[in-house]
């Protein structure tokens, strides 16, 4: 399996390195091994899909990489920093500046307009009030929502909400985009639209993308590499030949 990462089309430095990563927790008397000894490396600029059935531990791995959760044992090193060694405050700053996240259920704040949702990470980052409005407008324009800035999430379609969520995820210029079933709540046409945007960010901005999905077809269409999880363990790690060819063709 490890040899597969060596055959990666991008020979960038490792962006993410998980080593014997475990996340166990107790539910009543039983110990649940959500993630159980996963070792993997993602190189900078790679588009990786984490595949597996529900309960396979793919979302748990993503949360550990996102710094939303802490490993029971093992380590995650992102861009040279061991997340286990970061304080809660440092981990929050890591989420703020290094990671952008999109979710299956969009997770926009319902009481805020799109512009306010996109501005929120900049408030936490203490970006100047004057700059924020302009940056939020640009970000929403990039995902085609400049006309919807003053709308609240519940006034928009699922696709529009996910585009706004993408704009929010990218507003602080993170190096890592983590997506948890980003098309799970969307029809296939809208899903394609979102995935094309994600691919563009990966290719044009050189962002490292890790996407959790249970749809193999979707993963094969966009990801350069497919990592399979089952019962919290690594079950496969292969290059996606179709996508790699397509990507290479586009790049040349």
């Amino acid at each position: 399996m490890a040899s597969n990462t060596d055959r990666s089309p991008r020979n960038g430095a490792p962006a993410i390195h998980a080593n014997q990563l475990c996340r166990h927790y107790r539910m009543g008397d039983t110990l649940i091994r959500a993630v159980d000894g996963v070792t993997l490396t993602v190189r900078a600029g790679e588009f990786v899909a984490l595949l597996g059935s529900s309960g396979s531990g793919k979302s748990s791995v993503l949360n550990l990489i996102a710094g939303l959760d802490r490993a029971t044992s093992g380590s995650v090193i992102v861009l040279g920093r061991n997340l286990a060694e970061l304080s809660r405050e440092e981990l929050a700053r890591y989420r703020l500046h290094t990671v952008g996240m999109v979710f299956q259920s969009f997770n926009l704040i319902a009481s805020m307009t799109l512009a306010e949702n996109v501005e929120l990470p900049m408030r936490f980052a203490e970006v100047d009030r004057g700059q924020r409005g302009e940056l939020a407008r640009e970000a929403l324009a990039r995902v085609g929502l400049q006309a919807r800035m003053k709308h609240r999430p519940n006034e928009l379609s699922g696709g529009e909400q996910q585009r706004a969520a993408l704009a929010r995820a990218l507003i602080n210029r993170p190096q890592l985009l983590l997506a948890d079933e980003p098309t799970g709540n969307l029809d296939s046409h809208t899903g394609t639209e979102i995935m094309n945007m994600v691919r563009d960010f990966n290719q044009q901005l050189g962002m490292t993308v890790v996407m959790v999905t249970h749809e193999r077809a979707l993963a094969e269409r966009y990801a350069e590499r497919l990592i399979f999880l089952a019962d919290g363990k690594l079950a496969g790690d292969e290059l996606n030949s179709v996508s790699a060819v397509a990507a290479n063709v586009e790049r040349q």
Binding site: L68, D69, E89, A92, R95, L96, F103, R123, F124
Partner: protein, 467 residues
């Protein structure tokens, strides 16, 4: 997160669940209002009491007597200091000297004498006292019928109610309501009285042939005087209800003259006989002086200075201290009752914010996922609690002030129906407003402590799973 962002987010969150947050804020307002109401009542009553005591003249007056007056108030003190026979006389230079002392407003001679007044050709014997102009502001004359003396030397009198009754030949029937002063004053005002009195008249010795005063009575040349019976027409200008001299017991006066007028009449005083060996015809000797001090707290100092000059003094000092102590205790108790309502409001804030955490679990999770730190979340909940505290405080102070006004109004309507003059029971000093706002803010922050900590510790993975 910066403060303006924090405030903006906190206010928008408060607007989101407007009903619940308004109710909580009203809870705080009621708490602050009751605190403000209770404390302003305490302060108002205290101010009323000290205003009354000030006006009574009991607490800012020192009575000065000569040690030569053997009927002194304070017999203990006679044992120290010079013997009465060697002590100083209370004369005009002494009065002026005392008036020049620091913190002394004025020093007025006490002129009082028993004499005959004729009204309607009937003689009436009574004690008459002279009043300085400053007595105008004394509360004894607050409800005077007619008016106070038009000038300090006008030939006018003010009658005490019981003397007015005597002049009209009325005797108050026990058990029945007392006759009103208004009723008594109507037939008496502007009427004339004739006062018969003994005047001390100096007998100027004619200069001798060689131009020198006769020296037969060595050193006593000016002490000769004769006592002449005189009459003075006086106009009744006022009838007073209260007894301004109730402290004096049986020797209290029932008729009052302007001080300057009384002085100019050179009325024979009991001290004139005692000091006959040193009294000059036109140099009065006073039996006592009433010294008014600027502030009751300076009484002791003035008393000590006057004692060092070789006089006896008398004042009521300690009573005011214990009264102030009583009001301090009252304030504390009223404050505790007021705070009870605020304690209920405290629980209301905790409840509202804990509910808000449950309701906004997911939102907190989202904020953490996109980079909010524990302290950002904590500050946000603090800001919401603080904003409710400030808003509740402002409304509460206004409400407390309004409650005070209403109670004051109601009490005054009652007082009026009982024919008492209106009073101010209520006082909201600026420091109380500032204190109430600060207190409300701090109590709200304290109430936000637990919910904010809980929100900050929320696990984002759990919170995001929550639908």
């Amino acid at each position: 997160m910066k403060l303006p962002d924090l405030t903006e987010l906190a206010l928008r969150n408060l607007r989101e669940s407007i009903l619940r947050n308004s109710l909580t804020t009203i809870g705080i307002s009621v708490g602050v209002a009751s605190l403000v109401a209770m404390l302003s009542l305490g302060i108002g009553l205290q101010q009323l009491a000290s205003r009354r005591l000030m006006k009574s003249g009991l607490f800012d007056t020192v009575v000065v007597t000569s040690r030569r007056d053997l009927r002194n108030f304070n017999r203990e003190e006679e044992r120290s200091g010079p013997a009465p026979g060697e002590s100083r006389i209370l004369d005009e230079p002494t009065r002026q000297q005392i008036e020049q002392l620091p913190n002394v407003l004025e020093a007025n001679p006490d002129i009082r004498f028993i004499t005959e007044l004729r009204y309607d050709d009937k003689p009436h014997l009574t004690m008459i006292a002279a009043l300085a102009d400053s007595a105008k502001s004394s509360d004894a004359f607050e409800s005077v019928q007619g008016h106070f003396f038009s000038s300090d030397s006008a030939p006018e009198v003010i009658l005490q109610k019981s003397f007015a009754e005597e002049l009209l030949g009325r005797t108050p029937r026990p058990g029945l309501d007392e006759t009103s002063v208004k009723e008594l004053a109507a037939p008496l005002l502007s009427k004339e009285l004739v006062m018969r009195y003994a005047q001390r008249e100096g007998t100027k010795s004619a200069p001798s042939a060689d131009g020198h005063a006769p020296t037969t009575n060595d050193g006593l040349e000016d002490a000769a005087y004769s006592v002449v019976s005189r009459e003075q027409q006086l106009k009744i200008v006022g009838v007073a209800d209260l007894d301004p001299e109730s402290m004096r017991g049986p020797t209290r006066a029932r008729v009052f003259l302007p001080l300057k007028l009384a002085e100019s009449l050179h009325i024979m005083q009991p001290t004139d006989l005692r000091e006959i060996s040193s009294a000059a015809s036109d140099k009065p000797i006073y039996s006592s002086l009433s010294v008014r001090v600027k502030n009751p707290s300076q009484i002791q100092m003035v008393e000590d200075t006057v004692k060092k000059m070789g006089f006896n003094t008398f004042s009521i000092l300690d009573a005011s201290k214990s009264i102030q102590q009583f009001f301090k205790v009252l304030d504390v108790f009223l404050g505790i009752f007021g705070s009870l309502a605020l304690a209920v409001a405290f629980i209301g804030i905790v409840n509202t914010l804990v509910m808000a955490i449950l309701e906004r679990r997911r939102e907190i999770g989202i904020m953490k996922a996109i980079g909010a730190s524990d302290s950002d979340v904590k500050k946000l909940f603090f800001a919401e609690a603080g904003a409710m505290g400030i808003l509740g405080g402002i409304v509460g102070v206004a409400l407390g002030w309004a409650i005070g006004q209403v109670i004051n109004l109601g009490t005054n309507i009652y007082l009026k129906s009982q024919s008492f003059p209106p009073e101010h029971f209520w006082s909201v000093p600026w420091w109380l407003v500032a204190f109430a706002l600060l207190f409300s803010f701090l109590v709200s922050l304290a109430a936000g402590l637990y919910p904010a900590g809980r929100a900050a510790r929320l696990d984002p993975v759990q919170a995001l799973r929550y639908e």
